[in-house]
């Protein structure tokens, strides 16, 4: 199975799930799609990895963060994919904390769940989740991730250009590739190129959330409302 997604090695995904099987699976799926992966087994560990402790962003002055909120160079995360039902902090709790954090809120979050509960799906999307995947997650589902990651990376790099004029990031300009390209040839049904929101007509079980949800709603969380419909 030859994967030629070399550009993906620049993307780093943080995977969160308490189930060791699902963690191993999502890790393999992401690596097969040529993403870098860090997998943790809880929401609190995820927040620690992101440099955010369970108290507020801006609380304890005595705390010495290993990563300061304004500088993610060391642990840049381009996407968080998390299970929903987890002991302690659920995926929804984690989503909320990420979106409430000034330093993290631009990171796209994807929720995975084995249960198809429309109310749950809606709640997650309204809280700012980009996608909601039903488990078990398939390789084809991961094609939906790239547009979210690219959008954030381009935005971050433009912000970086404004702040640090002496450090140009030239490569970002060349990343504007057409979205939704199938990553592997081994998928049973190759996808036509289309918007990531209109997906996979063969698979109505999986993307229940798309019925009745307008694109604007899922994009609501992006600052400035610049919705580059890819």
């Amino acid at each position: 199975m030859a994967i030629t997604g070399e550009s993906h090695s620049q993307f780093h995904v943080l995977a969160v799930d308490d189930s060791i099987i699902d963690r191993k699976l999502i890790e393999r799926l992401l690596k097969t799609s040529s993403y870098q992966v860090t997998a943790v087994d809880s929401g609190s560990k995820a927040l620690k990895f992101l440099g955010l402790h369970e108290e507020d962003d801006h609380s304890n002055p005595d705390r010495v963060p290993s990563v300061s909120p304004n500088d993610h160079q060391e642990v840049e995360v381009n996407l968080i994919i998390t299970g929903y039902c987890m002991p302690g902090m659920t995926g929804y709790d984690l989503l909320k904390k990420v979106k409430e954090s000034s330093s993290l809120r631009n990171i796209p979050v994807v929720i995975m769940s084995s249960e198809n509960v429309p109310a749950r799906i809606t709640r997650c999307l309204e809280e700012g989740a980009e996608e909601f995947f039903l488990k078990p997650v398939r390789l084809a589902d991961l094609n939906r991730l790239k547009p979210h990651m690219m959008k954030t990376k381009i935005k971050n790099e433009k912000l970086g250009d404004q702040e640090k004029l002496e450090k140009p990031e030239i490569q970002s300009e060349q990343q504007q590739q057409p979205p939704s390209q199938p990553q592997t040839e081994s998928q049973p049904q190759p996808q036509p190129q289309q918007s990531p929101l209109l997906q996979q007509p063969n698979n109505n079980k999986r993307k229940t959330m798309e019925e009745g949800l307008s694109p604007d709603r899922t994009r609501r969380r992006y600052n400035g409302g610049i919705t580059t419909m890819v």
Binding site: S19, I21, L25, R28, K135, S186
Partner: protein, 172 residues
Amino acid sequence: MLGWGVDRLRADMSRLLAILFHQGVLDEQFLQLQQLQDESSPNFVSEVVNIYFHESEKLFTKSQGPTCKTDGYCDCRLDREFSDYKKMGIHLNQFMGSSSSIGANRVRNVCVAFRAASEQNNRAGCLRALELLEHEYCYLKNKLHELFQMEQQRVLAAGARYPLQQQQQQQH
């Protein structure tokens, strides 16, 4: 003669898999696992499945209760007392999820039935579901064990036949 062994093993494995799919013991998620196995992760399927069995053992108690009736590799007992429905429910949900993730279709379906019975406080239904669960789980474990043994033999036989190409032969 070794070559004939490899081909025959491969045919036997295909036949076994076909039976398991036909019976609904495995579903397409298992195929997805196979697709994820390649040169960079040549034992992915058996690794995941072994984790699954290891994790699932937590559901079973080693203390009292009859052993499951299937002969062979499996040796599991389910706790028929289940005085703590809630705890059992949590384990069952996890077990249901991981069964679904590896494509263990029939096991997953019995978990669903068990959950329905426990939500209705239907003790007889729960007992029945647990019996079925034991049976399905043991059957699955035995068959997958058989499959992985065949795979190991196939790899060995292929290696003996083409020692320089053993790396490639490990591909599914």
